[in-house]
């Protein structure tokens, strides 16, 4: 039996604790599946077989001796290749970092999952230096969408999303600067959460844009997502005893939406009996500010490295970073000033509403070679515009859950549920009800080796 496809992380851990399975047998099954499927999906960039088996044996030993290894006892997971893993270089998806000094210790997020009993299997593919929405990586390959191998998995945490969607592992870690958790979650049909600023520690994570960077988990159901989030955040979520005040975001968040995206929001709103729409008139400017801050800060971060080895970069990333270094400082400062006022405006909106709903991506997964999509009636680069609806909310610094609409046998599409810091539990409870009612669901992809 394919345990990581059949069971949620929480159920798998319960069964391992009850000694119905050994952690070792689970890890062996995962390693076999990676051998079989990874060349098709291109999720894992490195697999730590020996260490994972040793960790699994240790979990089994602890259970046999009567101790409880934690909520995720024996649960296999993968981490985007920008989390430090002790003893290995952190590549951040780049060949130029393949020979840097190995990390001295695990990133704090990785360490927290391990302390909860989870077993690290390997590192996962990404856009180089997290600068992209596609996970098209010239060094490690293009991660394929498990629902259709001809399509993008999204990015930049595409390897992490595809590994969970395909059932190779039940949970994984990714990062989100402009939408790098939410975009691949939407396209691959899995759950994720971009946490509020600083809610999950960034220690040991290769940076991209310091003021926008966050890290978070992927999962295939709400319960796993909540458990992973609480472990990563280091505390249990507080309950808020009030019915959530819900609205959808109109204006920018509807403009350029495909019928799939519009129907996804309609379906959820109808099921919740919610009818209001609010327009965040600053959303377009927020997206632009996010774009500009990313180019400027990302460019500055890589400036010295570009001087030494510009030609070792992914050409697409290199040109973005070089352009970012040419951005006038006045433009960057304007974007920063705008960010401050935008956050105030969003906080005001969150005094009136608890949950803001919008599509996570304007479209389902594009084909890998699809160059353009229609934006405002004109063809525009498809990959860059996958973050159309995630980038404004990144600038707000608020927690945003990405959840898949239940549409079996169709390409997945996800929704964003944004809230104020401290109200995450309220949103998770609402989403658990929507999952229970069959409105939201992570559907398994077809077996790419069948037929």
């Amino acid at each position: 039996m394919d345990v990581t496809k059949s069971y949620s992380a929480v159920t798998l851990a319960e069964r391992i604790r009850r000694r119905e399975f050994t952690a070792q047998s689970v890890v062996e099954s995962v390693l076999q599946n990676i051998d079989r499927y990874n060349s098709h999906y291109v999720c894992f960039t490195r697999v730590f077989s020996e260490q994972a088996l040793a960790d699994a044996k240790e979990i089994d030993r602890r259970i046999q001796s009567g101790s409880d290894p934690g909520v995720f006892a024996g649960v296999p997971f993968g981490a985007k290749d920008l989390f430090d893993i002790a003893g290995y270089p952190t590549t951040a998806g780049s060949r130029i970092r393949s020979n840097v000094y190995p990390a001295k210790q695990d990133a704090e997020a990785v360490a927290r999952l391990k302390r909860a009993g989870a077993i690290l299997i390997g590192t996962l593919n990404m856009d180089e230096f997290a600068y992209g929405f596609a996970t098209v990586n010239p060094h490690f390959g293009t991660t394929k969408n498990p629902h259709d191998l001809k399509r993008l998995a999204g990015g930049s945490s595409g390897g992490s999303a595809a590994a969970v969607a395909s059932g190779l592992v039940p949970i994984s870690l990714g990062s989100d600067t402009n939408g790098s958790l939410r975009v691949p979650a939407s396209l691959c049909g899995v759950w994720s959460i971009r946490p509020a600023d600083s809610a999950i520690p960034m220690d040991g994570v290769f940076p991209f844009v310091e003021i926008l960077d966050t890290v978070g988990p992927f999962a295939r159901n709400v319960a796993d997502l909540v458990n992973a989030y609480e472990i990563l955040a280091g505390s249990k979520l507080r309950r808020v005893d009030q019915a959530p005040r819900i609205t959808r975001l109109g204006g920018w968040f509807v403009r350029n939406a495909s019928s799939d995206a519009l129907q996804a929001v309609d379906t959820v709103m109808n099921h919740l009996g919610a009818t209001t729409t609010v327009e965040l008139i600053e959303a377009e400017a927020a997206r632009s500010a996010s774009f500009l801050i990313t180019a400027a800060q990302g460019g500055a971060l890589h400036f010295d490295s570009l001087k030494k080895q510009a030609m070792g970069y992914d050409p697409a990333v290199r040109d973005r970073l070089l352009a970012g270094n040419l951005l006038p400082v006045g433009t960057y400062l304007k974007a920063l000033a705008f960010r401050k006022s935008f956050r105030k405006r969003v906080n005001e909106l969150l005094q009136r509403y608890d949950v803001l709903i919008a599509a996570a991506t304007p479209v389902v997964a594009p084909e890998i070679d699809q160059a353009t999509m229609m934006i405002d009636g004109r063809p525009a680069p498809a990959r860059a515009n996958l973050g159309l609806y995630t980038q404004p909310l990144s600038l707000a610094g608020i927690p945003v859950v990405s959840a898949p609409l239940n549409r079996p046998n169709e390409l997945p599409i996800g929704l964003q549920f944004a809230t104020a810091p401290g109200r995450e539990k309220m949103v998770f409870e609402m989403l658990a009800k929507l999952e229970y009612d069959g409105v939201l669901k992570s559907n398994p992809p077809p077996d790419c080796l069948a037929g």
Partner: protein, 59 residues
């Protein structure tokens, strides 16, 4: 023979002091145009905001 230098090539070399071949220039220029597009959107929003703010101050 002296090669022709586009204005962008001159500026990039001068400002960044980074050595890369000419083939990189179209990519840099395309990205600069994209950044300029976003800068214009931000400027337009700020201008609208300033106009509105000034309007409220008119006696």
């Amino acid at each position: 023979m002296q090669s022709k230098k586009s204005p962008i090539q001159f500026d990039v070399a001068k400002l960044l002091d980074i050595d890369f071949p000419d083939e990189c220039l179209p990519g840099i220029e395309a990205n600069l145009q994209l950044l300029q597009y976003h800068a214009r959107i931000l400027d337009a929003y700020i201008a609208r905001l300033n106009t509105a703010a000034l309007a409220t101050r008119v006696p």
